[in-house]
């Protein structure tokens, strides 16, 4: 999916470092947007005062379970819905109340929404035609797009005569053809099988680098979000809980929901003993003290929840020096990894994931009493 010179094409930049002439500007600013569906008793708040800024040229992902409001936010940006309150700025101009055909943003639909009575080429040309472009420009640009998504051969086909993966490419080409300022993607890969989805993830990312267009991508698949995004906004029940890079979100989840939704997480109760910049010392119920990552707003003495990733813990033979102690309830062998499901002495469940590397040494069995060691940066204090 490369090789065509697109007008805005520019080399990939590390996210957050804007080098284009619009440096320092945000592509989209969502300010205090609320969206309520229905009226009276049947009111449902789909978005509850959401604010977020999406930068130029970034691959931004809205991640959350179904019903969290991510698709509503996308549809508000596209113009298929209008906010109950708040502003949506595109390059500093409020577009919240413009109809969709007046917004320089285009959408790749979950169902692709290809026009069944038109050919592949006619679908791709549609937006340009509606913009009143000259015939030669439409033809040239359509040809470019067909080449970009490697669909030249199938240009004259009806959209019902091509495969799901091909339909996906056509949908993408159609949305890119009018050169939108922002491309909105509503779970575009969810209908593809696993292998194709993996391929398309890389191709999409590549395409975003090549075109330099801001992508806003909606998904409920945390792995997809981590793979593709420059930044991720995690959403739940109409709110954005955390915005950050995949690394941030995974390593420093701010809330229990984020920690639980992305990857597997163990939760432990603890009490803050001492704080310093960005980190703290916490005391576990067993009395052991360990370091932990610290968000703002915690004072020594406050009761907190800790999140510990299963792969950041290490299982050892029962030993007084171990941070945690418990019994193996269950042991799941997964090829590269083994998952140990422990019951800690305090009664909590705790999972440890260990790689099955050649020298991992000791073999444990269900019912064994074991200890767990946590690395220095394994624990993260959660906000709630």
């Amino acid at each position: 999916m490369r090789g065509t010179a697109l007008p805005q094409a520019q080399p990939a930049e590390e996210w957050g470092v804007c080098v284009s002439e619009s440096a320092g500007r945000n592509a989209i600013d969502v300010r205090g947007v609320r969206k309520v569906f229905g009226s009276g008793d049947g009111q449902v708040t789909a978005l509850d005062t959401v604010s977020v800024s999406i930068r130029e040229n970034e691959f931004f992902t809205l991640l959350g379970p179904s019903g969290c409001g991510k698709t509503t936010l996308l549809r508000l940006i596209a113009g298929f819905e209008f906010p109950t309150d708040g502003q949506i700025m595109l390059h500093g101009e409020d577009i919240a109340l413009l109809p969709p055909f007046r917004r320089p943003v285009n959408t790749v639909f979950q169902s692709y929404a290809l026009f069944p009575h038109m050919t592949v080429a006619e679908n791709i040309a549609f937006g340009l035609e509606m913009l009143g472009k000259s015939r030669s420009e439409i033809d040239g640009r359509t040809a470019d797009m067909l080449k970009l998504v490697q669909m030249e051969e199938l240009a004259k086909r009806k959209t019902s005569e091509i495969s799901g993966g091909q339909q996906q490419r056509v949908a993408l080409a159609r949305a890119l053809a009018p050169q939108p300022k922002v491309l909105l993607l509503d779970e575009p890969l969810s209908a593809l099988d696993y292998k194709l989805r993996k391929e398309m993830q890389l191709e999409l990312k590549q395409l975003q680098h090549e075109t330099g267009i801001t992508f806003i991508f909606v998904t409920h698949d945390q792995e997809e979000a981590l793979t593709m995004s420059d930044r991720i906004a995690v959403m739940s029940t109409g709110k954005i809980l955390q915005v950050g890079s995949p690394h941030d979100i995974y390593e420093h989840p701010a809330e229990r929901f984020v920690a639980g939704f992305i990857g597997e997480t163990n939760f432990l109760d603890a009490e803050v003993v001492a704080t310093s910049a960005g980190s703290a010392t916490v005391k576990l119920p067993s009395g052991k003290q360990i370091p932990a990552g610290l968000p703002e707003g915690f004072q020594p003495g406050s009761r907190v929840s800790l999140a510990v990733r299963p792969e950041r813990a290490q299982i050892v033979a029962a030993d007084a020096d171990a941070t945690l102690a418990g019994v193996i309830d269950n042991l799941v062998y997964l090829g590269t990894d083994t998952h140990f499901h422990l019951r800690l002495d305090g009664g909590e469940a705790f999972i440890v994931r260990q790689q099955n590397s050649s020298g991992s040494g000791i073999n444990f069995a269900t019912g064994d009493r074991v200890g767990v060691i946590l690395g220095d940066d394994a624990a993260q204090i959660l906000k709630d």
């Binding site: 055909f101 943003v105 639909f109 169902s111 929404a113 549609f126 937006g127 509606m130 159609r174």
Partner: protein, 268 residues
């Protein structure tokens, strides 16, 4: 039934026999009617050999020609009016959350289906006869108006069904690609709706063509359609000419229904 046959879960004792009898009885009378159209004799009672004379007789009968032409004109006009009005109404009443007046519209549009034809017929007689006196106009406009009204619910059915199955995201996608509402309608909605509109038009056409009761009460003198002409003939001593007309009529209806069947199936 023999024991060796496997137990068929779906079977019900005697149902297939009744069904076969029903199908047989549905077609037997029509078959008899068609057969007698080819009777060479003068009467309906006695079979006197095969002949096409009654078809020739019907075709050269000026009153039949006149009535047939009038039937087709009325059906074409009424079906056009009904399918355009029904298309607009279908767009206005589908793919929306309930709004004030929606149920009222459903009831209004389906009203002609809810009242026995004879009741509507005499009501039209009352009103149109007075209007005919007031205005002095007694053309086929009244018939077209009356037919349009009772054709609307029939045209509405397939159009609405097709609209409801049409994905609203296609129209949203077009709007997203800078198509204004009018262009969305012309380039997306209308082309996709076309099979439904054609089906609706054909249904309306058949319904209008078949109508006897309302036409009988609304028509002015000398405004026979084919069905009312046949009804008039049935009062007298009938000759197989009526069978011949009915046979041609039947053939035409079957052709239309077959076409409708295939149009509807194609995109299902």
């Amino acid at each position: 039934m023999a024991r060796k046959r496997a137990f068929d879960l779906r079977n019900q004792t005697g149902f297939a026999t009744v069904a076969m009898f029903t199908f047989f009885m549905l077609y037997l009378p029509m078959a008899a009617l068609v057969v007698y159209a080819f009777n060479a004799g003068n009467s309906m009672a006695i079979w006197e050999g095969v002949s096409l004379r009654w078809f020739y007789s019907a075709a050269s009968n000026e009153r039949v020609q006149d009535a047939a032409l009038r039937s087709v004109i009325i059906a074409a006009c009424a079906a056009s009016v009904a399918s355009i009005a029904a298309t607009m109404a279908a767009i206005a009443t589908t793919r929306t959350k309930p709004y004030p007046g929606l149920t009222f519209k459903y009831a209004f549009i389906n009203q002609p289906l809810m009242v026995p034809e004879i009741v509507t017929a005499v009501a039209l007689l009352i009103v149109f006869s007075r209007i005919k006196v007031w205005t002095g106009y007694s053309g086929i406009g009244y018939l077209i108006a009356a037919h349009s009204a009772f054709c609307i619910p029939f045209a509405y059915l397939p159009i609405r069904a097709r609209l409801e199955n049409m994905n609203l995201t296609l129209e949203q996608a077009a709007a997203d690609l800078y198509a204004t509402p009018w262009l969305v309608f012309r380039r997306i909605t209308l082309p996709l709706l076309r099979p439904g509109i054609i089906a609706g038009f054909m249904l309306a056409f058949v319904i209008s063509l078949d109508d006897v009761v309302i036409t009988e009460f609304v028509k002015s003198g000398g405004q026979d359609t084919l069905p009312t002409y046949m009804l008039g003939q049935l009062r007298r001593a009938t000759t197989p000419e009526v069978n011949a007309i009915a046979t041609v009529f039947l053939l035409f209806s079957v052709l239309l229904v077959t076409a409708f069947f295939f149009i509807n199936r194609r995109k299902a």
